[in-house]
């Protein structure tokens, strides 16, 4: 059982959370200005790195908040969790690099 550190509630068992896909993929402000290709990229293309991944989680059976996390996709190790709307923590390895 993974323990995930919700930025609001603290460490909680993984059963209380739901994964939310890659983080920092902002919805285009005016979708009507995007080409089909760019809109398709927004809908479907994701980095899918091996190693550290900035991703979203929701504490659905807890405070209900979405938040961001840096998780190593090869080890499931969470390097950090941080509130939605705040930038990725400085000093952490880039996406695709390992955290240890």
């Amino acid at each position: 059982m993974l323990i995930i550190a919700c930025p609001y509630c603290g460490p909680r068992p993984e059963l209380e959370f739901r994964y939310g896909g890659e983080a920092h993929v902002a919805r285009p402000v005016d979708p009507s200005t995007l080409s089909d290709e760019d809109w398709g990229a927004f809908l479907y293309q994701r980095a899918n790195p091996r190693g550290l991944h900035a991703e979203r989680w929701r504490h659905v059976h807890g405070c209900g908040r979405f938040f961001n996390a840096l998780r190593d996709t090869t080890t499931d190790f969470f390097a950090a969790t941080y509130e939605t709307g705040t930038p990725r923590p400085a000093g952490t390895p880039a996406d695709g690099e390992t955290s240890r």
Partner: protein
């Protein structure tokens, strides 16, 4: 590798490889060992999730009455819903025929409590709904209802439901029974991560309200003596409106809305009072032969009117236009979830699968839901398929079978004959408009 994690299959596989290579098992090596390392009973994995505790069984406040009155139940998500109410000697078809005719000729009563409900509140409530749904909401006056359609960003229909504006800053949103958690999750996602500056909040009220649908030409006559503080005459309460007041002393949000095509109301009362109010309506309806009906009848009646059910006529790849709902899309809206995807060229392709009605050439034949449709049944196999049957029933009021289907370029095929190949033979059908009964909607006014 399943629950044995290779323990059993591993040994057998090593034996087979040993034979094939002519080497002893000890020289072949082993696969990676994973837990459990020692034999473990299924009971440990199951824990408490056995028998009655395998899944929650969700029942509405009216369930006890339905059970006591002979209802046969079906599972809808985790809910038990009354499927039909057979009387002595009736099979399902006889019961459903009787229930359908009773609703269209007089009045029926139906438990709609499982519908998802979300209270959307705040000064930006209308703006938020504008962004989430295809419809425009700003000019919907308090006291009015609108049928809302929600898309995913890829432009496909994900849910629908009637939305009532209770006040400038308060909406009573309904969703499909199975869709409630998905819709709330999607709304919270956008609100928290895309538009956190909007002053609007969402509260699930699915279980706060019991919902009693009263449908049929006598619906108003049944309810009028029971309500206080509500004028539900035709003039004061037009179709698609909502009023607050009391019914039998209990606070109510009374919706004038119809999923049957008949004059209809949906009585929302706080859940603890659901059963008592249901029983009061049944008593008041006795002189009119009020008939309890279940989900099967509900499905038939809405199909006779060409009303879609998300997840039945749609499968996650249908646009509003595909299912005849282009009229609901707000023309002047700058943006909403899914709008950009609707502008893709392929979404306007006239050969997309479109909602149509099907009438079998033999009116007694009832098509099978999911059956494939072809143009030329003599074409060599594999035949090109042009669509499939989404809903199919015997219609008591029409005295024959009806079906809804999605067919490539369906709307341009009105009057054409198509074919449904089945193991027992090929069934010929005529493509029709999906509204089989009362096409002008005159019966909505009773």
């Amino acid at each position: 590798m399943a629950t044995d994690q290779g323990k059993t299959s591993n040994m057998n596989a090593l034996g087979i490889v040993s034979d094939a290579l002519g080497k002893p098992v000890t020289e072949i090596g082993l696969t990676t060992f994973r837990q459990p390392y020692t034999p473990t009973t299924f009971g440990i994995f199951a824990g408490h999730s056995r028998a009655d505790l395998f899944d929650p069984v969700r029942r509405t406040p009216i369930h006890g009455w339905a059970e006591a009155n002979g209802a046969v139940f079906e599972d809808v998500a985790l809910w038990k819903r009354a499927h039909y109410f057979p009387q002595a000697g009736e099979d399902m078809h006889a019961a459903v025929d009787r229930e359908c005719l009773a609703v269209r000729r007089s009045v029926g009563i139906f438990d709609a409590s499982t519908l998802g409900k979300i209270e959307v509140v705040g000064p930006d409530a209308a703006e938020f709904l504008n962004r989430m749904y295809v419809n425009p909401w700003s000019k919907l006056a308090p006291g009015r209802l609108r049928y809302g359609i929600m898309l995913r960003e890829d432009g496909f229909v994900t849910d629908d439901g009637v939305v009532g504006r209770m006040a400038d800053d308060r909406f009573h949103v309904t969703t499909t029974t199975g869709g409630a958690p998905r819709v709330l999750q999607m709304m919270e996602d956008y609100l928290q991560t895309e538009w956190p500056d909007l002053d609007v909040w969402l509260t699930s009220t699915t279980e706060q309200w019991a919902v009693i649908a009263v449908q049929g030409p006598n619906a108003r006559k049944v309810l009028e003596p029971l309500v206080e503080g509500i004028d539900l005459s035709a003039a004061a309460m037009p179709h698609m409106s909502v009023k607050e007041g009391r019914i039998c002393g209990v606070p109510t949000r009374l919706f004038r809305v119809s999923f049957t095509g008949e004059l209809g109301f949906e009585v929302n009362v706080p859940a603890d009072h659901g059963r008592a109010v249901w029983e009061a309506i049944v008593a008041a309806g006795a002189p009119f032969g009020i008939t309890p009906y279940g989900t099967e009848t509900m499905h038939v009646l809405r199909a006779e009117k060409g009303y879609i059910i998300v997840g039945q006529e749609t499968d996650g790849t249908a646009t509003p236009d595909d299912v005849g709902l282009a009229w609901a899309v707000g023309k002047a809206k700058n943006d909403f979830v899914g709008k950009r995807s609707l502008a893709r060229a392929s979404m306007a392709d006239p050969m997309r699968k479109q909602l149509v009605g099907l009438l079998t050439h033999d009116p007694k034949t009832v098509l099978e839901e999911g059956a494939q449709i072809v143009v030329d049944p003599a074409a060599p196999v594999p035949m090109p398929m042009v669509g499939h049957v989404t809903s199919s029933y015997h219609s008591a009021v029409l005295g024959r079978s009806i079906a809804l289907a999605v067919v490539k370029g369906g709307r341009a095929r009105m009057g054409e004959t198509l074919h449904v190949p089945m193991p027992g033979g090929t069934i010929a059908v005529t493509v029709t408009d999906p509204v089989f009964y009362d096409p002008k909607g005159e019966r909505l006014d009773g």
